[in-house]
C-alpha cells in the first residue's frame, strides 16, 4: 500500500520536475513546480513529518509560489525565447548529467544499509509541539538570526521593488 502511494506521489513529483524543465511558458513551469511541492508535502506525510508537510504547503506552495505567479503575472513573462544552447553545455553537461545520475543511482542502490533500512508508515516523527520545542530551545539563536534575516529581506525587497522617484 505505502509503496504504491509513495511511487504514485514520487511519479507526480518527478513528472512535475521534468515538466518544469520542458515547459516554455514560465507560468506552466511555475504550476508544475507547485505540483512538485504539493506532492512533496504528501511524501513528507508518508515520512510522518506532518508539520513540515503542512508548512511546505503553506510556505512554499502558499506563499513563495504565489509570489512567483504574482511576479509572472506582473511582468507578463510569456514565452522564453529559445536561443541555441552553448556548445559546452551540450558537450559537457548532458553526458555529465547522465554519468552523475548513473553513479548516484548505482551508489544508492548498491549501498546495502540504505536498502535495508525501511521506514515504517504512520508513525509520527515530527509532531508540531516537539519541533517548536526544539526550535525555541536548541536552535533558538538560529531562529532569532533567521527572523532578523527575514526582516532584512523584507526591507530589501521593498527598497528594490519601489519605483525610484528621483
Amino acid at each position: 500500500m505505502a509503496q504504491y502511494l509513495f511511487l504514485f506521489f514520487a511519479a507526480i513529483c518527478a513528472g512535475g520536475a521534468v515538466n518544469l524543465l520542458i515547459q516554455r511558458k514560465t507560468i506552466n513551469s511555475a504550476l508544475s513546480l507547485i505540483v512538485v511541492m504539493g506532492s512533496l508535502a504528501l511524501i513528507y506525510l508518508l515520512l510522518g513529518a506532518e508539520f513540515v508537510a503542512v508548512i511546505q504547503v503553506i510556505i512554499y506552495a502558499g506563499a513563495i509560489m504565489v509570489l512567483f505567479v504574482f511576479v509572472i503575472m506582473l511582468l507578463n513573462a510569456g514565452e522564453e525565447e529559445q536561443a541555441k544552447g552553448s556548445r559546452v553545455a551540450k558537450i559537457v553537461g548532458i553526458p555529465g548529467l547522465f554519468i552523475g545520475g548513473i553513479i548516484g543511482i548505482w551508489v544508492l542502490l548498491q549501498h546495502a544499509p540504505l536498502q535495508k533500512t525501511m521506514i515504517p508508515i504512520g508513525a509520527l516523527y515530527g509532531p508540531a509541539d516537539q519541533v517548536g520545542m526544539m526550535l525555541f530551545t536548541k536552535y533558538l539563536l538560529a531562529f532569532e538570526v533567521t527572523s532578523v534575516l527575514v526582516l532584512i529581506a523584507i526591507m530589501g525587497a521593498v527598497v528594490l521593488a519601489r519605483r525610484s522617484h528621483s
Partner: protein, 362 residues
C-alpha cells in the same frame, strides 16, 4: 471498525457534508439577496416559489443551461483549471471542521467530522494540525483567482487577480496570527481538541454558570475581530472586494467567465464564507459546544450541538450580508496600509500578550 465500514462511513460523511454545504451555499445566496433587498427597501427574490425559496434552484439551472463560451486568446488549460481549483480548495476545507460531537448510529460511533475518527477510548480525534491544513488550503485557494485573472488575458481580469493575490497574501498573515492566540490558549492545533478545550462554563455554581468557556470570552475577542476582518479580506467580500470591484473592473478576475465556470467561482466564494464561519465558530465560539440547557429533554439534548453550530454559522453568514449591506468599499492603498500597518501589528501584539498571560498562568 473494519476498513470497509470505515470507508463506507467516510464516504457517507463526505457526501452528506458536501450536500449540506452546497445547499447552505445556495441558500446563502438567496438569503443575501433577500436580506440586502430588505436593507435597501426592496423585496428581493419573491417570484420563484414562496418567498422566492426556489430561486437558487432556478439560478443553478440557468447557469447549467447558459452558453459556456471560452473567449479567444485565453490560456486554455489554465483558464479551465482555475475555477475548478478555486472551488475544490473552497470545498475541501470543510472536511476538517468538527461539526458535532461523537454520534452513535447503528452501533457505529463516529464524530460528525469528515476527518474525524474515534480512538480506542471512544473519544473523537482528528488531524492534530487541522487548523494548519485549513490555512494551507486557503492559501492554495489564491491560485484559483490569480490564474483565472491571468489566463483570461484581459486587463480587468489581470488587475483583479493581481489585487486578489496581493490582498490575500497580505491578509493571510494577519489571519494566521490572529489564530495563534487561540492555539496558545488551547494548546493544540487539532480543531477537535480546540472545541473540547472550550467545553464547560465559567463561574460554576454562581448565577452566571451559563457562560460557556469560549475563547472569545477568554480574552481572545481582539483576535476574534482581527480574524473576522482578515477573513472578510480573504474571501474578497465587501468591504474588501477589490478583486471584483464591479465599478472599477467590470467583474474583476472572473470577468471573462460565464455559465458554470462563473458559477464555480461564485460557489467557491460562498463556500469560503461558510468555511470562515465554521472556523470562526470553532476557534472562538466553541464550535458545537454551547451553554448547557439542562431543562431540555434528552432527545433534544442530542441535537443541541448541531443546533448551536448551525446557529453560529447562520450568525456569521448574516453578519457577512449585513456588512455587505452597510459598508462601502475600501480604496486599494487603504486596504494595503490597513492590512499591514494596523491588522498585522495588532495581531502580533495579541499573540505576545496572550503568550505572556498563558506563561504567567502556567
Amino acid at each position: 471498525m473494519s476498513a470497509l465500514t470505515f470507508l463506507i462511513v467516510a464516504v457517507i460523511k463526505i457526501v452528506v457534508t458536501l450536500g449540506v454545504l452546497l445547499t447552505v451555499v445556495a441558500y446563502t445566496v438567496w438569503l443575501e439577496r433577500k436580506v440586502v433587498g430588505r436593507m435597501q427597501n426592496r423585496w428581493g427574490p419573491s417570484r420563484v416559489g414562496p418567498f422566492g425559496l426556489l430561486q437558487p434552484l432556478a439560478d443553478g439551472i440557468k447557469f447549467l443551461l447558459k452558453e459556456d463560451l471560452t473567449p479567444p486568446y485565453v490560456e486554455k488549460h489554465i483558464y479551465l483549471l482555475a475555477p475548478g481549483l478555486a472551488l475544490i480548495m473552497a470545498l475541501t476545507s470543510i472536511a476538517l471542521v468538527p461539526i458535532g460531537p461523537v454520534i452513535h448510529l447503528f452501533g457505529i460511533s463516529t464524530p460528525v467530522q469528515i476527518t474525524g475518527v474515534v480512538d480506542s477510548a471512544g473519544h473523537a480525534s482528528d488531524i492534530n494540525i487541522g487548523i494548519l491544513v485549513i490555512l494551507g488550503l486557503t492559501s492554495l485557494g489564491v491560485y484559483g483567482i490569480a490564474l483565472a485573472g491571468w489566463s483570461s488575458n484581459s486587463k480587468y481580469s489581470l488587475l483583479g487577480s493581481l489585487r486578489a493575490s496581493a490582498q490575500m497574501i497580505s491578509y493571510e498573515v494577519s489571519l494566521g496570527l490572529s489564530l495563534v492566540g487561540v492555539l496558545i490558549m488551547s494548546g493544540t492545533m487539532s480543531l477537535n481538541g480546540i472545541v473540547h478545550a472550550q467545553l464547560g462554563t465559567f463561574f460554576q455554581g454562581t448565577g452566571f454558570g451559563f457562560i460557556p468557556r469560549w475563547n472569545i470570552f477568554q480574552g481572545q475577542f481582539v483576535a476574534f475581530f482581527l480574524y473576522m476582518i482578515a477573513a472578510f479580506a480573504e474571501t474578497n467580500r465587501i468591504p474588501f472586494d477589490m478583486p471584483e470591484a464591479e465599478t472599477e473592473l467590470v467583474a474583476g478576475y472572473h470577468t471573462e467567465y460565464s455559465a458554470m465556470k462563473f458559477a464555480m467561482f461564485f460557489m467557491a466564494e460562498y463556500a469560503n464564507m461558510v468555511t470562515v464561519a465554521c472556523i470562526a465558530s470553532v476557534m472562538f465560539l466553541g464550535g458545537w459546544s454551547g451553554p448547557p440547557l439542562p431543562f431540555l429533554p434528552a432527545a433534544v439534548q442530542a441535537f443541541l450541538p448541531l443546533v448551536w453550530f448551525s446557529s453560529k454559522i447562520f450568525f456569521f453568514l448574516f453578519l457577512y450580508i449585513w456588512i455587505r449591506g452597510t459598508l462601502p468599499r475600501f480604496r486599494y492603498d487603504q486596504l494595503m496600509s490597513f492590512g499591514w500597518k494596523f491588522l498585522f501589528p495588532l495581531a502580533l501584539a495579541n499573540v505576545i500578550v496572550t503568550a505572556f498571560i498563558v506563561a504567567i498562568r502556567a
